[in-house]
Symmetry: C2
Subunit: 199 residues, 2 copies
């Protein structure tokens, strides 16, 4: 029988995607489930609703709660959390293009976790080429080839297609998981998604 699969849709600027990205490989391995990492962007989905910023910035009350909640979650999971003072949300376009260019590469999970750490623990600018190049180099991935592959018209179009698939499948936030067609939204549904896939 084929190994069950969970799709993990994640956005590099999304706070709740961060603990999900740090937890999913270990939990999925324990459950015997394969993770399909699917980077995408929430911006176009929010923009389609007329939102031009994170809902956590648009609604400061909800935003203040989110920071408290994500702080508790990271503390509980022993995940470092130290935000860049310059921006929430960060521009995740370049990182998403690199991740998508590497969607079948062995380094995708580790690259993705490193981008999350850069954003949410190391106070780095993930839209800065130097930051992304450094992450790739530390993973022994050739930065020049990879950055070039990320920036081809084909790969840019592929990210648009990925975002369109997200919208078509009614993804409205991140992280988002699918076990088959069963949808699960949020870091706190990760265990449920894995359990569903294992059924």
């Amino acid at each position: 029988m084929a190994q069950p699969v969970v799709e993990f849709w994640y956005e590099f600027a999304s706070t709740y995607s961060y603990p999900a990205a740090m937890r999913i490989s270990r939990l999925a391995e324990d459950a015997g489930i394969e993770v399909r990492w699917r980077p995408f962007m929430l911006g176009p989905i929010f923009a389609a609703k007329g939102l031009n910023d994170s809902p956590f910035n648009v609604d400061p009350v909800k935003g203040r709660y989110m920071w408290r909640d994500i702080g508790r979650i990271c503390a509980k999971e022993d995940i470092p959390l130290k935000l860049p003072p310059f921006s929430f949300v960060q521009n995740s376009l370049k990182a998403a293009r690199i991740a998508l260019a590497g969607e079948t590469a062995h380094w995708l999970p580790e690259f993705s976790r490193a981008v999350y750490r850069a954003n949410f623990a190391e106070q780095k600018d993930i839209s800065d080429d130097a930051v992304l190049v450094d992450i790739l180099a530390r993973l022994d991935v050739d930065p020049a080839t990879t950055m070039a592959a990320a920036n081809t018209p084909e790969n840019k179009a592929k990210l648009k297609t990925q975002n369109e698939e997200a919208m078509r499948r009614e993804i409205f936030g991140a992280p988002f998981f699918f076990a088959g067609n069963e949808p699960f939204w949020g870091n706190d549904r990760l265990e449920d998604a894995l359990a569903w896939a294992a059924k």
Copy 2:
């Protein structure tokens, strides 16, 4: 030492408040925590943001997901779920006034659970006096006295004050819990709120 307390802020029209209401007494008792039941209304809080309907109706994509998610939660917890065909959201004003009039009464938790069952399992109209009278009568609470107490100008004003407190304390959804001043939003944070209070 005084028994730790969790405040449980709930709205009778709120889907996620339903499993929280059905679960909290048992979980709190197991944890040795006292629950303070605090009925309130989300309508005025949404209205202050310019929303005149549930966010789950305003955004049908999010709404469809919510119904699937709440269905899974209720199935997992063995909580019946059968929606009234006539309305989501129901008008919860009368039920909230009765609950508030009974805020220190022994029957408040059982009354509240019965209203949730009427709304989310028995397809009843919780804005119908007959439905509320029937619930009270089955709890051996005198309906005439209680309905009268619910409808005094003082009690109506008290519900407004309760809603103002909710807004001042930055409650933006339901269910909402406080362990001291630590805020927790959502049925899926109930266990965390209890654990925080027990610390």
